[in-house]
Amino acid sequence: MNAPVYPSIFIACPCSDNVGQKAPTRSRTSNDEIDPEEEGQAFNPRAPRSTFSLFPLENLLFCEDCNQVRCPRCVLEEIVCYFCPSCLFEVPSSTVKSEGNRCTRNCFSCPICFAALSVTATGEEQTGPFILLCSHCLWSSQDIGIDFEKPTSITTQLAQKLKAANASSAASLTAPSPDSLSAARPLSPLGAGGTYLRPPSPSALPPDQTDEAEFGRLKAHYNQQKALASGDDYGGSGSLSRLMGLYSSNSGRLRSYGSGALRETVTARNKSEWRELEQLRTVEDEEDVIEKMKNAGFHGTTSQTQRIVQTHSPRLLDELRPLAALLRTKRSKRCRSCRHILVKPESKVGSIRHRIRLVAGSYIPQISISRLDHTAVNYNNLQPGSTHQFLLTVTNPLYDPINITLATPEKTPGQYPATVYILCPEFEVGATTDVWDEALGPEAKANPKVAKGKGKKTGLHATIWDSGRNWTTVVLEIVPPLLPEDVELGDDDHIVKVPILVRSVYEADIEREDTIGKEGREKKEHSYWSVLEVGRIAKKRGADEEGVRPMSIMSTTSSTAADETSGPRDRSLR
């Protein structure tokens, strides 16, 4: 588990109403004053459901038509294409439906360490036999006694080999002796998935019939299920009959796969019904299993991770099978409410470009927080009761200048509220222009100091701290609460969480239909709740070294001290 990093900033997606607030604060009408009722109901980051609507900016998309951020919960995903991550071949969706969601070419991953296996020649001069070799942990298919005659169509060869091994081991079991069972043969009967399904008396049925009988039994079972399911209007009956049609129509193919590993790969992976097949398997004599595990020792058994990715849940390392590479998908994303496409990757597998990608970072103003005096504030050790000063920077991604209004409740929500004070809640942020405009533009040449807004940094009330081309910084003061020591506190209570409403108003060129002949500007507005997780409150007051001193922006001494620490960079620029 990752330790939380402070400070971190999350943005609330309003997709699910009544999360952390009574009424959604979004409104497209550009009322200039904030509704007093609205103001009273600040976003509560400590509400239990808030966790599910807070996302880092990077995870959010933006729908231009709804003028709203879109979180992973409020987008619809559509699969553009399936491909194998190993050979980068696109797999048609019909093949995925019929053959399963694994690569049917030569792509396998190591059952031990999950690295990619490569087909390697073992003979002289790159001739066969060929093996699948893991270049990381040196596992090879020879460990389980399998090699291949030719370096292509490994999947088919592997299926044949497993079937053959399965048959031979089952045949040898018709006269089972304890010695032959305990002998550490690479392809133990337990390993072959098909024999796993053997009824308790293995000699009763030849191996081929075992599968056949099993199939017949399952078919009867699903027929029964279907009859039951068709009685009610539960939607499963349709999928059930489709499933049965799939397997009874080409049971020949099913038989050709024969042994368990691959067939289960093909079926059980995406058909949850087939998981039942595994539950129904009859485990052979327990004593044999125990004996085998005893012989193999701890190091001969599979780890949990190794076991769960295999379809036949092997107990011993000998029974592991190479894993066919899982296919991956490229997906496009749509807005759930207006169905417009937000993300559309190029359908070519090799390309990582996107045709459409509307990320929130290029639409909504981004906020970031830093310490004004980095010696005075320790994010993981905030001193209760003393004033901490932070710099809140708002960056504008748009090509128009925006007016920002920041709003925050004076006391943060929660049982132990911190006091928050934004020195300058209303300010302007410049447009995102060319990086060189600032340095080479006419205004910059004429009066660089004014243009840059440098040298102010007074920290006075209602003035900004600093600003640049498309960003503005204001001072934020936070007084963390005193936490009672005798009360059992939740971990959440130690974290200062500040909800801030960021509202931006700007004028943009009117887009869409009526662009011809009309040079209009329209007023646009966007607002969102963000939550600053500023840091942890110190366990005990004064537990930290004496380096923390309470500061106030109004006192001239600390203001100049702060200027000293952050000043030199700017001075050297001048």
Partner: protein, 182 residues
């Protein structure tokens, strides 16, 4: 750590070295120490590879590859022996007493002081072997200290690969054997 200046390096006494005429050694490799360093035929020593024989003699076999920034440090007076076909990858630290034939020590792996490594072992990136540990033949150390026996039978193929790699390196790395012969 700051790199040593070329001047001080040349001023310091070079360790006695017996280098095969077929060796491939970059002139920015560092051979330091006081004990004998012996390097076998067709071994490639990359630039910035550091071989330190301060505590004991170092013997390196045939067809070994010592990559950039590797450190081969003799742990004590018994010295260190790398047998033939040993590949030490970038940033690995080897302080073993002996590394068996055909072993591969991958990027950033660390072999503790006085460890004895068997033949055809493989240490995957960033794995460590404790001081004085004995690693059996054909062991693969991977992941978070997991071990397994290599049964792939790819030893010969790997050796051939190393030979070919050395041949390839000869075309790439300019060798300056004379610099280290004193």
């Amino acid at each position: 750590m700051a790199p040593k200046s070329r001047l001080s390096e040349s001023a310091a006494a070079r360790p006695p070295a017996i280098l095969s005429p077929t060796i491939l050694i970059s002139d920015v490799a560092q051979l330091t120490g006081t004990h004998l360093i012996r390097v076998g035929n067709h071994t490639a020593v990359h630039p910035r590879c550091r071989i330190n024989s301060s505590a004991g003699p170092i013997t390196i076999g045939d067809y070994c590859i010592l990559n950039e920034r590797t450190q081969i440090i003799a742990p004590d007076e018994r010295g260190i022996v790398l047998e033939n076909y040993v590949v030490v990858e970038t940033n690995a630290v080897v302080e073993a007493q002996r590394v068996g034939e055909g072993s591969v020590i991958e990027v950033g792996a660390k072999i503790g002081k006085g460890a004895v490594v068997g033949k055809n072992c493989k240490f995957t990136p960033l794995t460590t072997v404790a001081d004085g540990e004995v690693v059996e033949d054909d062991t693969v150390v991977w992941g978070f200290g997991s071990r397994r026996k290599d049964m792939s039978g790819s030893k010969e193929a790997r050796r051939k690969l190393v030979e070919r790699q050395v041949e390839g390196l000869k075309a790439v790395i300019p060798s300056n054997r004379a610099k280290f012969m004193s």
